[in-house]
Amino acid sequence: MTTTTTLPAEERVVRREALYFAVRNTKLLIGFGIVLVLLLTGLLGPLLLGGESPNEYVAGPMLPPSGEHWFGTTTFGQDVFTQFVYGLRTTFLAGAMGGGIAAVIAMAIGFVAGYRGGLVDEILNMLTNVVLVIPTLAVLLIINAYLGIRSVGLQALFIGLTSWPWAARAIRAQTFSLRSRDFVDLARLSGVSTRRIITREIAPNMSSYLFMTFILLFGGSILIAASLDFIGLGPTEGVSLGLMLQNATQWSALQLGLWWWFVPPGAAITAVVGALYVANVGLDEVFNPKLRET
């Protein structure tokens, strides 16, 4: 274990070592590769398609995939590929925002509870456990039904507010094991403030762990958002992969055999979330020498 304040040279070596193993880890490369390709599709696709609205009726209904319409068209003649590209964007946004908000809450609660201990820990731990037991989707159903969520941002906000507990618990446990280390004691003895100890001494020493937690929260948010969209409580404006699945089942794509309508959105969600999980395993191997295959 090294700290930035005392041993900058060694820190740099550790970083370079991580990078050395990162570019040689196939799991990490494949995982991030898939995510990157889909992310670029979502980011650049709408620009290249030239501003045509994803819900516009552009061609004949129920056309199978062709050179002109890569993923075919819906029962109403909407282009599935256009919807897919816009939907990817929404999905990444929901994942990044939901996962980000959840990670921030989890870190705040996990660090404070783990570092302070005592009564603060008891209260925060109780709060974490209570939110942990409540089924997330059920709460989101009630909130979304009454509020009538319109934007992806609001949906992601509520997902973030409900999906942090397991991460807070894990971060708390990690903080707990770090707080009695010598370098933390030293920092405390030299009168460094609690906030500074957490951000300067504890957080950097578990940065890889925090990053992996964020990845898992990201994937989880995507899945929850897709479920909400599918139940019919998604954002009412715009397109998302979950909404595409919902529309496909609602307008009997199954019975009509329009597989090109419902296969791509689900496959994309699976690919993003699965690739994130695999990349996470790869990261684990990079940061944890014990797990490296040599």
Binding site: N125, M126, N129, V130, L132, V133, I134, P135, T136, L137, A138, V139, L141, I142, I143, A145, Y146, L147, W166, G219, L223, I224, A226, S227, F230, I231, G232, L233, G242, L245, A248, T249, L254, Q255, G257, W259, F262, V263, P265, G266, A267, I269, T270, A271, V272, V273, G274, L276, Y277, V278, K290
Partner: protein, 331 residues
């Protein structure tokens, strides 16, 4: 042990209070007037009818009373099993509507969760540290666990239902049949149950297999495993010990996954129009039946709390350390 259960029960009690309070608060403190929006949705044009409905709803929510009185009334009604009247199937009480749907959800969830848990753990334990198996179980596991529940359900319904025609893709039983205890009805029920069960089972399977595999590898690296190996103990024995140690975090994991599993069951039911709580929620949302939605929420919370408590009991039976009041399960 008493302390362990005391702590658990305190958490569940608190959770229940929080859930009920949330359920009570959301309609009352949301922006906008719920009564007005309900009236708008009802699309009644006669002023007299609107007035009557407004009076009815105001009375129903008890908006004319002080806020603490409303809160107490809410609890009182809850303990009497009064969840209000459903709007979708007016005038059936919400509790009756839900109780009619709960058996279907349970019949779907309990076998799917238990079987996937059992088989997934076995599979993961078996695959760990076995090159060839590991290289197939791991990728398949990751793909399965990354799948949205409804997507696998849709794919199965399309592949095995619509295209192959082996299974029906909608409903809990054929509309031609009346529910009865006859063989033909039970077979029909089972036939409709297979696909939703399969899709729930498969998605859950992947997660358990991966979790178990990782735990087993961790256990096989620990000192006691090395010691046993050094003593010349057979691999089977070492693996059995590793499994018994690895199953403990997996039990906690089951409790943590309950919410996700419920969510999975709900969306799977929607895909197959299976007459459980999921389809009920969809109907409630489509018909703006908020009493039904809130009632379903309460049922799900109670169900998850009960399941958590059962898992706690199982944990105490499985892990002797909790009985002796030593460390082991964290609250």
């Amino acid at each position: 042990m008493r302390q362990y259960f005391g702590r658990k029960l305190l958490i569940y009690g608190l959770t229940f209070v929080v859930a009920v309070t949330v359920n009570w608060m959301i309609p009352r403190f949301m922006p906008g007037d719920p009564v007005a929006s309900m009236l708008a949705r009802a699309r009644v044009s006669q002023p007299a009818a609107v007035e009557a409905m407004r009076a009815y709803y105001t009375n129903l929510f008890g908006f004319d009373q002080p806020i603490w009185q409303q809160y107490l009334n809410f609890w009182g009604a809850l303990f009497q099993g009064d969840f209000g009247i459903s709007i979708w199937v007016f005038p059936t009480p919400v509790a009756d509507v839900i109780l009619g749907a709960v058996p279907y959800t349970l019949a779907l969830m309990i076998p799917a969760v238990l079987l996937s848990y059992w088989i997934g753990n076995r599979l993961g334990a078996f695959a760990a540290r076995r090159k060839l198996l590991d290289n197939t179980v791991l990728p398949v596991g990751y793909i399965l666990t990354a799948m949205p529940y409804m997507w696998l359900a849709v794919i199965l319904a399309w592949g095995l239902g619509v295209t192959a025609g082996w299974f029906p893709v909608a409903g809990g039983y054929s509309f031609a049949l009346q529910p009865s205890w006859s063989w033909s009805f039970l077979v029909n029920l089972l036939h409709h149950w297979t696909l939703p069960f399969l899709s729930l089972f498969l998605v859950a399977l992947g997660g358990w297999a991966i979790g178990m595999r990782n735990m087993i590898i961790y256990e096989l690296e620990s000192d006691y495993s090395n010691y046993l190996a050094a003593l010349g103990a057979p691999t089977r024995l070492i693996r059995r010990y590793a499994f018994r140690n690895a199953i403990l975090p997996q039990i906690t994991g089951l409790a943590l996954q309950l919410g996700v599993l419920v969510a999975g069951a709900l969306v799977t039911e929607i895909v197959f129009s299976y007459p459980g709580l999921g389809s009920l929620i969809l109907k409630a949302i489509q018909n703006q039946d908020f009493f039904l939605l809130q009632g379903t929420f309460m049922f799900i919370v109670i169900g998850v709390l009960l399941a958590n408590f059962i898992i706690d009991i199982v944990y105490v039976i499985v892990d002797p350390r909790t009985r002796a009041g030593m460390a082991g399960a964290q609250a």
